[in-house]
Amino acid sequence: MKNKRSLLAIPYVGWMAFFVVAPIIMVVIYAFTTADFSFTGENFTRMGTFTVIFTRSFKLAIIATLVCLLIGYPLSYAMAKEGKGFQRVAMLLIMLPMWVNFLLRTYSMMSIMENNGLINQFFAAIGLFDLINNVFGTDIHYFKMIGTQGAVVVGMVYNYLPFMVLPIYSTLIKMDNTLLEAAQDLGADTATVFRKVILPLSLPGILSGVTMVFVPSVSTFAISRLLGGGIQMLLGDLIEQQFLGGAYNPHLGSAIALVMMVIVVACMWIMNRFGEGEEQAVML
């Protein structure tokens, strides 16, 4: 009787074979072939040309992930300490911004950070630039933010912070209070309780949060295009250009995507070794 029930999954298994597994096999095939589909390794030997972009992508993604963790963990912790009423709306409050398209939110972010945007207007209004010009003898009227790597990181943090908060918050609110009391009873002070009990128990949440921020950060192309002013090119931009952009070459694009995927999977694997045996993907 139970075996029959497992047949319910068969249609989806077929679906996955077609639309999950087959496309990835296509990427692999493209990566190892030339335009006329003869085997080549050339797509990978050309990868050296893009070292700068690879380095920049991973550097910015790692920074963005760390910033998200440094903001996201204390935030989740603070939110978990709020009462039941807040818990009900907390998830919604975090998810709600996603209902305004991220491109538009990023665009709005861009207009805030522009040379004549709100932030610079605010600084001018409080006389910050006059002060600086007087002290240092310079002549600036704005901080240039768009086009810097900092702006790209801010954009990543802004867009992906919810992905860090959700899993951490949900592991924290599920934590058994008696465990904390037991630790205190056994002589642990607040800091020790945090270090020895709360932190290890929320590790699965941290790990899935890190994954969920790092992966989109390292592969984004819209954020870098908007906030990086087109000069802070990332891996995503590079791949996009090979498929839909000017430098049309899906074989090279597949190879880049494949290399990126392999590096990401390797990072995740190493990281998950860290949290040995912990459950993965606690999004909800």
Binding site: S6, M16, V27, K81, A257
Partner: protein, 295 residues
């Protein structure tokens, strides 16, 4: 509430600051959708002109329609397929289930751009194969001596491929949120229902479905949100003829976004906000009523 009861002022300030950071750009965007000027920097007084203009902008209206249509269809299909698959997967032996769940996680864990280009390559290859067949063969059906010729249409990337892509990345979210409910469910419940006279389909509708309903609802909600918010995968799978709101916005960011987009986003945001508030208020009321009934 698990951690210590009392929350400090510092924590409250932290929450406030971060949520300000998250919501400021959205509030600004809403604010400027009511701006009389066509700038998002200078405020020239309250006006609804962008809302009026919005409804004349066929491109935007069409893209909103596409977005909603693909999101609703993909969510419906993904919810049904995902729920049934989750039940199927959890009736399987471990050695079959584990590898399937790993594959199921791929679209969720993989970078959107990789999923997007992979599907793009696959669709292009599949469609060119189909188009080759369609241009070289036709099906001739002999029905009671009359021959019907069936010619195949040439196909290209468009709404169909967009929908398939959305269903594919939505199903894992549904499975992920239904699975815990299935695991928590007392294994004997289905046995009990059958014991009391249910056939399996009856047991499914009368017992399993009500039990896992919260998981299905939240799965559907996440799927819908992901669909509406998606840009990257749509961008690679929709082709040039079909455009979603996100794709429309992306193409506008190159030339400059007009406040009409702010207006349409404000409307969407407002609708979702109102819906969520209604749902939550009703839930709270239902809980209070239930609490009263018990004591």
């Amino acid at each position: 509430m698990s951690l210590n009861k009392k929350n400090s002022l510092g924590n409250r300030i932290l929450i406030g600051v971060v949520f300000f950071f998250l919501y400021a750009p959205i509030l600004l965007l809403i604010f400027y959708s009511f701006n009389a000027a066509d700038s998002s920097v200078v405020w020239k007084g309250f006006s609804l002109r962008w809302y009026a203009k919005l409804f004349q902008n066929q491109l935007i209206i069409k893209s909103v329609y596409n977005t909603l249509l693909v999101s609703v269809l993909a969510t419906l299909i993904a919810t049904v397929v995902g729920t049934l698959s989750a039940i199927g997967l959890y009736s399987m032996r471990r050695k079959f289930r584990e590898p399937l769940l790993t594959i199921n996680n791929i679209p969720m864990m993989n970078a959107d751009i990789v999923t997007g280009v992979a599907m793009c390559l696959f669709f292009v290859a599949a469609l060119s194969g189909w188009n080759y067949l369609a241009s070289h063969y036709r099906l001739i059906i002999d029905l009671f001596g009359t021959q019907y010729r069936v010619t195949f249409h040439q196909l290209s990337l468009g709404f169909g491929t967009l929908l398939i892509a959305h269903i594919t990345f939505n199903i894992p979210y549904v499975i992920l949120s239904v699975a815990p409910k299935l695991r928590q469910m007392d294994k004997n419940l289905v046995d009990a229902a059958q014991d009391l006279g249910c056939t399996w389909p009856q047991a499914f509708f009368k017992v399993i479905l009500p039990e896992i309903m919260p998981g299905i609802v939240s799965g559907a909600l996440i799927a819908f949100t992901m669909s509406v918010d998606d840009f990257v995968i749509s961008y690679f799978t929709a082709g040039s003829s079909t455009s979603t709101l996100a794709m429309q916005i992306y193409s506008m960011t190159k030339k400059g976004v007009t406040p009409e987009i702010n207006a349409v986003s404000t409307i969407l945001f407002g609708v979702v906000l109102v819906l969520l508030i209604i749902v939550n208020v009703r839930e709270i009321r239902a809980e209070k009523a239930a609490a009263k009934r018990v004591y």
